[in-house]
Symmetry: C2
Subunit: 163 residues, 2 copies
């Protein structure tokens, strides 16, 4: 039962002889940690996505940002930071990156000239359509491991972790 | 139902007027992506852990490595890479980092002199005991969001994603 095991620290120290590590490896407390399993799941997902994306690599954070900018043309950097739960400096770096790739631009808002918004370029929109397609195929390779009920449950659990 | 929604691309482009982004933000396809939810959960977990660790910051990968080295004194870098599902270069960087902090050392194996193994120092072991305690408290803040049955299920789901 993960809960009980997760609360139990790994066994006290054995003598540290200079011996070869036993095979199979003793993985200690790791498999019973929620954080470890979430991170391993994230690594597996990221590896599959990176492979699927081919030449043009896009980090998950960049993809998320493109989706948000696409759905909210003129969105402010601070809104992106809030929405994606990352700090402003990270967002500025990501927008710079998208701008270098000519996928996004920063423009003054026509409604409030003190305000700068972010917009996808036509090139960025085309790229996002391609990415969305890749993303859908990538997602399907994992979601098909679950029944519809299980998937609903998994989503609910993950949202409980990130409220 | 996440599965159906995840497979549906975001609605086709609306006119991109230079207007302020609507509030609340339209999050497009993101909430229905498994990858997005796993990443958000990972960010929430990491933020809580970073806060709990206080002055001495340790990345999740470093912690995992220390647990493995502690449980397998003399483990080889390649075994760490395989076990943690990251590339060898990343492991070399992490071991360098632990060595700079005097938490770990690389030593020639007494059994096979061609082989170099990684060992925690006494300082590294003390640090790991402290980290484990922090980790257990950090984990509990999340695991208590779930019943024992739910937690068992969540672990099983996550392991299905990272086999």
């Amino acid at each position: 039962m993960p809960r009980e095991q997760a609360l139990k620290p790994s066994p006290r120290r054995r003598k540290q002889a200079l011996a070869i590590a036993p095979v199979p490896i003793n993985v200690g407390m790791l498999p019973n940690l929620l954080g470890y399993n979430v991170r391993r799941a994230q690594i597996a997902l990221w590896r599959d996505l990176a492979r699927s994306l081919g030449e043009v690599k896009v980090r998950p954070a960049e993809f998320s940002m493109m989706v948000l900018v696409d759905s909210n043309p003129g969105i402010a950097q601070i809104e992106l930071a809030n929405q994606l739960d990352v700090d402003k400096a990270t967002i500025v770096g990501l927008v710079d990156q998208l701008q270098r790739q000519k996928w996004a631009v920063r423009k003054q808002s026509t409604v409030d000239r003190r305000r700068q918004g972010i917009y996808l370029t036509a090139l960025g929109q085309r790229e996002l359509r391609r990415l969305e397609q890749t993303m859908i195929e990538h997602e399907a390779r994992f979601t098909r491991l679950f029944s519809s009920e299980e998937l609903t449950q998994l989503f609910a659990y993950l949202r409980r972790i990130h409220p």
